[in-house]
């Protein structure tokens, strides 16, 4: 608080006057004779107390009136937000714009960003001469003060929204850091926001609060350019059944429709891009929408040819916010993966359960099986060329010679997948514990463990591994205990790099994974080839064994490299494209199909890892990656979408802002006039004179009423 006339505060000493008068010049009561005094006496005590109270009340009112009058005459002003100074002192002003796609929300034919730009230009015109001005938006970039006002104006005019946008809290942190470099005493931050909740997360707010506190006096003005009751229909994120699928399986695409505003009926269409990249409508769905009730939408695409397929799902018709009306997707379709099942004699019998789980006979007949399984006896492994297989499964293998193990290790290192199901034939542990075998196996074999009571079963607890991805939503409902394990191989403590994917319920490892080169090797400590007789090691594949079928499919998808590959990203995330082993192009060209005029980007692959890393994913859309010309070259791609949360139009309330700014003062304005008043108050403080004078008047009135009641009739 500052005082315009501090000397007048001395007038406050006059509060002594009523106190002195109260103490030494108490007004004499009128005297009367009154014979019936005995009737007065009994209730006199209470009356006396009231009398004393009223005396004190009167005194307090008079003292307060004089004190407040002295304070009012000293013209106090109180600081609201910002450093107190003169209206015309130059300021260091940072204008922070929310550039998230939400700012494209159109209302009264203007986007939020346009409204913000207009407001910003008018604020810019009103800033005192010699002010330092910076214009920041929510893209990740270092901020700097503009060289002059013209440059700032230009920068404001050129602002656009962007998909990969950081939160306002993070940008405000940059703004505060920038302000700290200014030597001007008056510092102001203007934040242009639609006041949507996603812009104000409280996660990184503690650092911002600390920085604002360090700066001490910063005038913080939030300019709300949002719409109080936005109406919008939004598509949720697309959930694809597979991102890499075999040509024999179908693709399921699930999403939701979110709606704000009055009840409406909207259609959603699914497009696939044809060979010439022309969109072809493949499916349509219509839903009755009402606020707060998301509607699930599901599309299913039948078998597709091998290759990269791109498409998008789009809401038909326009609404306030276009950014969340279209979601892109890319999938890669490969021929059915070839899987080699190696089993002891009789191989077909041994491999029956796994072969049926991966490629059921009924699917094989209709050509719909995801995997193309070939079963061979273990003694024919040496003669079998392995290159054409995506994965190899050793079912209850007997001891193999080191050369065989070496072949398998090479196969894995080149990007193949190997699963070893240990069983009764692993009697000669020495072969399995040989250094060559240990390249692919998870750990040295220790002993066979027996649990004849049937109280041992698989008990997966974490579902983040791709091998268990289908169980993620089912945790707790899978009846693993119905499939007991009676015998299994106990392993030594696994070495570095080995990951225990699933344990038994006693905590011992059941499924382990060892990455090797570009491939993966999985060791399962109990077989899946035993028939349910007295000697069976487990009952995993027997009966209504749907968990086994899912586990086997997920495991094989993982081993052939289908489930680990990702082709759909959110804006700003680096995209990783696994190249085929035979691809050795030195340069790739990246283009965004949604912006055909944009300049193509040249990419250099990591040929050793066979990996292409793409970091320029700021824009949403279907991206195309090409190399080697249009004929026999590579034509692949991926999609970038906006996270659904980024376009959430829920308005942040006072509590949300309070969580971000804590006790740090800020001013919220919706229009130019409001803002002008708040800025003026921020710079010069709020004059308390009118409030104080009103309080003095009220006190005097109260004093008058009390005194009148008190001394009535005198």
């Amino acid at each position: 608080m500052a005082l315009a006339n501090p000397l007048l505060l001395l007038g406050g000493l006059l509060v002594a006057v009523p106190i002195v008068l109260h103490l030494i010049m108490r007004r004499k009561p009128r005297q009367f004779e009154f014979p019936a005094l005995r009737l007065v006496e009994s209730r006199h005590e209470t009356n006396q107390r009231q009398l004393r109270l009223r005396h004190l009340l009167l005194l307090a009112l008079r003292v307060a009136a004089i004190g407040l009058l002295a304070l009012a005459l000293a013209r106090p002003t109180v600081r609201l937000s910002g450093a107190m100074g003169k209206q015309k002192d130059p300021v260091a002003a940072v204008m922070v714009f929310d550039a998230s796609p939400r700012m494209d929300y159109r209302h009264q034919n203007r986007s939020r960003l346009e409204v913000a730009q207009e407001m910003a230009l008018s604020i810019l015109a009103g800033l005192p001469p010699e002010s330092q001005i910076a214009v920041l938006d929510t893209r990740r970039q270092p901020g700097a003060f503009q060289v002059d006002r013209g440059a700032a104006k230009d920068r404001i005019r050129r602002l656009t929204t962007l998909a990969n946008s950081q939160t306002l809290v993070e940008t405000l942190d940059d703004a505060a850091r920038l302000l700290a470099t200014s030597e001007l005493a008056q510092r102001e931050v203007y934040v242009f926001t639609d006041l949507a909740r996603p812009a104000w997360p409280d996660g990184s707010a503690a650092r911002l609060r600390q920085r604002l506190d360090d700066l001490k006096a910063v005038g913080l003005y939030l300019i709300d350019v949002g719409v109080e009751e936005p109406a919008n229909t939004a598509l949720g994120e697309l959930r694809l059944s597979e991102q890499v699928l075999s040509s024999t399986s179908s693709l399921a695409i699930e999403t939701e429709l979110f709606h704000r505003g009055p009840r409406a009926e909207r259609s959603v269409e699914l497009y696939l891009l044809g060979p010439e990249l022309a969109p072809e409508k493949r499916a349509q769905a219509t839903a009755e929408l009402e606020e707060g009730r998301p509607r699930a939408i599901e599309f299913r695409l039948g078998s597709m040819e091998a290759g990269t397929h791109r498409g998008y799902v789009e809401i038909v018709g326009a609404d306030g916010l276009a950014a969340d009306d279209k979601r892109f997707f890319t999938v890669e379709v490969t021929p059915a993966w070839r899987v080699l099942l190696v089993a002891p004699h009789p191989a077909d019998r041994y491999a029956l359960f796994l072969a049926e789980a991966l490629a059921p006979a009924v699917f094989r007949r209709t050509g719909q099986a995801r995997f193309d399984c070939r079963v061979i006896a273990v003694d024919r492994l040496a003669a079998e060329p392995l290159e054409s297989y995506g994965a190899i499964c050793l079912l209850d293998p007997p001891a193999l010679d080191p050369a065989a193990w070496q072949r398998l290790a090479d196969f894995v290192a080149d990007g193949g997948g190997l699963a070893v199901f240990l069983g009764r034939n692993a009697q000669q542990a020495a072969s399995f514990n040989h250094a060559t075998a240990q390249e692919v196996l998870a750990a040295r074999l220790l002993r066979q463990a027996r649990r004849p009571d049937g109280d041992l079963y698989l008990a997966p607890d974490a579902f983040d591994h791709p091998l268990l991805k289908s169980f993620a939503g089912l945790s707790g409902t899978v009846p693993w205990e119905a499939f007991p394990v009676f015998r299994y191989w106990q392993l030594e403590e696994p070495g570095e790099g080995v990951d225990v994917v699933v344990r038994y319920n006693d905590g011992r490892p059941a499924i382990l994974e060892r990455p090797l080169g570009r491939g993966r090797a999985v060791t399962v400590t109990t077989p899946v080839s035993d028939f349910p007789d007295r000697t069976a090691w487990n009952l995993l594949p027997v009966g209504d064994s749907w968990p086994f079928v899912i586990l086997a499919n997920d495991m094989m998808s993982y081993l052939v490299g289908a489930s680990g590959r990702r082709l759909n990203y959110f804006a700003g995330q680096p995209a990783l494209l696994q190249l085929d082993p035979q691809d050795d192009y030195r340069a790739y060209v990246l283009s965004l199909l949604e912006a055909p005029d944009a300049v193509d980007v040249r990419l250099t692959p990591d040929l050793k890892e066979k990996l292409l890393v793409i970091t320029s994913t700021d824009q949403v859309g279907n991206y195309r990656v090409r190399a080697g010309g249009s004929g026999s070259g590579v034509d692949r791609g991926f999609s970038v979408n906006l996270a659904h949360e980024k376009t959430n139009l829920d308005r942040a309330g006072e509590d949300d802002l309070k969580r971000v700014f804590g006790e740090h003062p800020y001013q919220l304005a919706r229009d130019r006039d409001q803002l002008q008043i708040k800025v003026a108050e921020g710079r010069a403080g709020r004059d308390l004179f009118p409030i104080l004078i009103v309080m003095v008047a009220l006190l005097l009135a109260a004093e008058h009423v009390v005194a009148n009641r008190f001394y009535r009739g005198q």
Partner: protein, 297 residues
């Protein structure tokens, strides 16, 4: 002009002579009555008297009218007369008024004089007793007309001063009076009610009829003060400061409780309790007397 106005204290104040005052009060009172109070108390014819307005025309002796051409009414005499005592409180507090024409004492004297007049007219013997801390004056009851002058003469000379002890004085009176009498007490009763009530019970127990004229000043019944006041008790000089406006409700509640206690206790012992204040007309007091008198026969 109506004679009734003579029942108003402010008018009576203008009449200096007490005998006239008494006459006025009684005449004003009688005029307002529909039936003569002189009729019906006794059954034995005593004399004729001239008709005055208010007398029942059925009492007119038409025989005399035939002889003299004047209206006379037959007067009846009580078989037994009742002896009345006017008991006056001489305490200093009785000499108080805040803003009325008459002090409590003057009011009491007027009332006593009127009652005396009324009784002597009815040939009831009337005596006078005055007290402060004990009995001060005592005039034996007589019913002669000349006796009225004696009573009034003493009444007009009385002056309220000094402290009072109502209870002790009443006990003394009860000891003094041998025969059952009508005892009319004029007092403000500003003393501890317990002993006073006991003394009243004692009187009643002695076979006397008792009427208590509880006379307070108008200011004592309404508490008209406002703001900060300091009140002083005239007898004890005790003082209290208080915020009167705020206190009025409490005071009136206290007064009501005080009167209510007398009213209740008196009712239980069949004592007539007449709460009065100095702004009230005299007829209320007189009516009370007459009612009491009627009830007796």
């Amino acid at each position: 002009m109506s004679v009734e106005r003579y029942l108003k204290p402010e008018v009576i104040r203008q009449i200096k002579r007490l005998d006239l005052r008494a006459q006025f009060i009684v005449k004003g009172f009688l005029h307002g009555l529909h039936a003569s109070p002189f009729h019906g108390f006794s059954v034995e014819f005593s004399e004729h008297r001239k008709y005055t307005p208010g007398d029942d025309p059925k009492d007119i002796d038409w025989l005399i009218y035939a002889k003299t051409d004047k209206y006379y009414v037959k007067k009846f005499e009580a078989e037994t007369n009742i002896t009345g005592y006017l008991v006056m409180d001489l305490s200093r507090s009785m000499g108080y008024t805040y803003r009325q024409e008459l002090t409590k004492f003057e009011y009491a004297v007027c009332l006593a004089a009127a009652l005396c007049y009324l009784m002597i007219q009815q040939q009831d013997p009337v005596g006078l007793l005055t007290f402060d801390e004990k009995i001060r004056n005592s005039l034996a009851p007589k019913s002669r007309r000349r006796h009225l002058a004696d009573v009034l003469s003493i009444l007009s000379k009385l002056e309220p001063r000094g402290k009072t002890d109502v209870a002790a004085s009443l006990v003394q009176i009860s000891a003094m009076l041998r025969h059952a009498s009508l005892i009319m007490i004029f007092s403000d009763l500003l003393a501890d009610p317990e002993p006073v009530l006991q003394a009243l019970h004692l009187l009643r127990h002695g076979g006397h009829d008792v009427i208590v004229f509880h006379i307070l000043d108008e200011a004592e019944t309404r508490f008209p003060f406002d703001g900060m006041v300091e009140l002083e008790e005239p007898e004890t000089r005790q003082r209290l400061q208080l915020d009167a406006g705020n206190f009025r409700r409490d005071y009136l509640a206290e007064l009501e409780a005080f009167r209510e206690r007398y009213r209740r206790e008196c009712f239980q012992s069949r004592i007539d309790y007449v709460p009065l204040d100095t702004s009230m007309q005299f007829d209320k007091a007189l009516t009370e007397y007459l009612a009491s008198r009627r009830a007796r026969y």
